[in-house]
Amino acid sequence: MSMKSLLNAVVIFFSATLGLTLIWAILELPVSNHIHLSEQVLIQLDASGVRHPTTAVLLNFRGFDTLLEVMVLLLALLGVLDQTKKRKPKNLSISIRLNQPYLQALLWSARVLVPMMVLVAGYLLGVGGYQPGGAFQAAAVLAAAGVLLNLSGLLPTWREPSWSLRLGFIFGLLLFLLITAMTLFLSPGLLLQYPITLAGIFILIIEAGLTLSLGLILAGFFLLLSDEVNNKKADE
């Protein structure tokens, strides 16, 4: 017991020291030989195909990071699928999850909110080119709509995904990958180098595809995990 509290003390001491050193370092931060990347982003913005700097960075200047990052999401989904596919599915009626008044409120709000959320997602996707918004935010709103539908009992939870659902999960990722591969065949032929005239349309296609697939994946996290019931008896 004392061993454990000693360990706690050591960890807390180290963390506190680290925290204070970090804050000291931040306050002492030199700014002398600092590169101002934000200026370069603005200079090159015209060549990026979009007018919103963050979207330009996300899908053009550092689009490679984004390509790898959507693969991280897919990996998490693969892990979730691997962990949920072995369970015995049990249909949990909605009334167990929620009390009656809540349920009514949810049903009502789902009917009103979900169409609005889909509209908002479309709006966010559409404006991403020139103001805050874009695929990730739109996908998150779509996923939230999915969660709400599921909670109000209008959308069943997902089990082992069918062929078409799997295609939906990776559709946007595949599209992104194929456009990336296509850039190698267009002039000038570097990975992810969009021709200036086509950059805008490429980014829009990729964002639309990602909105769908990321929305499905994010919703999938909830819809795949949420219907389990621990009905397995202890082994004895």
Partner: protein, 121 residues
């Protein structure tokens, strides 16, 4: 001192709290909370330190968007494992610092041995 630096400092504090929580807190769900707080702290540092003279810098902002998506992916994966563990072992082993994970494993091995012993009789 500008607003960005204040948030960078609180980001550092959150990062440290998250690290300590991730190491010290015994409950797996709390470890996941601590991981998310650690992540938020790092993101605040990234954006707060990137903004010199209070000019917004889109590069760290894009990086943080990437980071947020990675964090939710990791959280979902962790929860999938946690629920699977709960399904397999029932409630008892839900506390899991490094030591109790070892103890769980020990129990598991003993149980396997006992079963084999029964089978051979």
């Amino acid at each position: 001192m500008t607003g960005a630096l204040i948030y960078a400092c609180v980001g550092a504090a959150l990062f440290v709290c998250g690290v300590a929580g991730l190491i010290l807190l015994p409950h797996l769900l709390r470890k996941i909370l601590a991981f998310n707080i650690m992540g938020s702290g790092v993101f605040l540092m990234l954006v707060g330190l990137g903004q010199h003279d209070n000019i917004p810098d889109p590069i760290p902002q894009a990086m943080v968007l990437t980071g947020i998506v990675v964090a939710v992916a990791a959280t979902a994966l962790a929860l999938a494992f946690v629920r699977r563990l709960l399904y397999l072992t029932s409630k008892a082993q839900f506390v899991a610092n490094s030591k109790s994970l070892d103890q769980t494993e020990e129990k598991l091995i003993t149980r396997e041995r006992n079963k084999e012993g029964d089978a051979s009789k």
